[in-house]
Symmetry: C2
Subunit: 294 residues, 2 copies
Amino acid sequence: MSDLIQKPPQRLAIIGVGLIGGSFALAMREATRDVHIVGCDRDEINLAAARHLGVINSAVHEAAAAVHGADMVLIAVPVGQFESVLQQITPTLSSTAIITDVGSTKGSIVRSAQAILGSAFKRFVPGHPIAGAEYSGVRAARADLFRNRSVVLTPVEGGDKLPCEIMRKCWEACGAQVEEMSVLRHDAIFGVVSHLPHLLSFALVYDIATRVDADTLFRFAASGFRAFTRIAGSSPEMWRDIGLANRDVLLLEIARYREHLDRLSELLTQQNATGLEEFLRLAREARRSWAENS
Amino acid sequence: MSDLIQKPPQRLAIIGVGLIGGSFALAMREATRDVHIVGCDRDEINLAAARHLGVINSAVHEAAAAVHGADMVLIAVPVGQFESVLQQITPTLSSTAIITDVGSTKGSIVRSAQAILGSAFKRFVPGHPIAGAEYSGVRAARADLFRNRSVVLTPVEGGDKLPCEIMRKCWEACGAQVEEMSVLRHDAIFGVVSHLPHLLSFALVYDIATRVDADTLFRFAASGFRAFTRIAGSSPEMWRDIGLANRDVLLLEIARYREHLDRLSELLTQQNATGLEEFLRLAREARRSWAENS
């Protein structure tokens, strides 16, 4: 790793040692020789497990203490806790520490960081690894979670170049492919391909769960339903935060999606067999083409 | 098998030797000793493959000829071709033949059968095996496709009891669990747990595929999107037919679902974090409870 990056982290602080934070820790441990990893988590049992499993070298209960002396700080807490963490760590950050995150939205994250980090903002590298599973917690963490996955960095305006290069090299050392784009583009893209499907899935399960005959309905739900609603098994807290953080994009996307439902209703009402088949066929061809090329 | 049912089929005609028709043939061949299976399919290549693979004993190109002398006829064609098949076979059906189907909707099927089958209608057993995959054709057929799956029968008003009992025994011999319910109840249930999710999935893929930046969007689509849209890889023809056949239920269900999207939009607009989390949590608990118990 040392021949890949100018400065591999020697003391890495992970705030939020869950699936993503824990996996980054494991991957970095494999990629570097002597990194000391400090973990901090609001869940004491999860934090103890992280220590016990060797995901982290030391466990610290206060984020402010955890970042002391760290040259890299990865914030991997739910998006809604991001501001609170920033408030806690800003006073004790070293003057050269890189701060980075892994949140599924970037606009709200960058706004918070700009407001709170002060002079450290220029060393903030917003990031988003496109990886994960519905399950959370350090026990689900894996060193290969990011292998062959995409990581998107959305460098801040006026930020230093070196922190961004270092984060790129670190993620590449985790096996990921790194791309850069603007904050707005990131939130627009992921609003459609990630945030919207999650909300649609939650909405369908809610729809069924709130019926008198929910048990019967679930009983007859087969593999298609299972696949469609798998992502409604995700963390409500995390998706609440993402929904609110990317609200503007989501309101537009929900409205746009609703138009397609209106179109389907219209085709059904008119009994327009040709129009309906064309609609479905276009979708099927696109889906198959995407599945083959990904 | 002979000790399970009074009269195992000796000559079984399968009209539409695809995934479902082919799998029923394979399962019945395992469950009975001497059944002769005649296959009929509009796709000559598929029909030849069915013969070549030993799924059927003989291949016949005309449905009318295929059912000649058959004591059981399974119609496994797309729902939209059902009427045409009935028109073809009614004149040559034997006076004791059981006719059954495997369509995903039952109301339209029963109406067609009642109008066309004449005196044979009382030997018609509407059926729906809850099994399958996105792929079709006899090469995907498996003898164990229905093992531990549900099959729903919706016996017709005034129908003979024996054909229904025989179909039950046959499906049980295929390893399935058989339930009976009314046509209306079937279409209401499957409208929600099967037909609606398919349309919602198609609509999302259509939404993305019709954008200028579709390629970029698909590139960043991860496993959640893949799961959600897997069922949009299904046959557009089949789903066009199902959509139209179960139109009344689907129009209601789409309208109901749209209300939940409106509710989500309202929660986002109001930035109602508590309300949003409650919504998502209710869905997540229901989904997990269902997944564990199924």
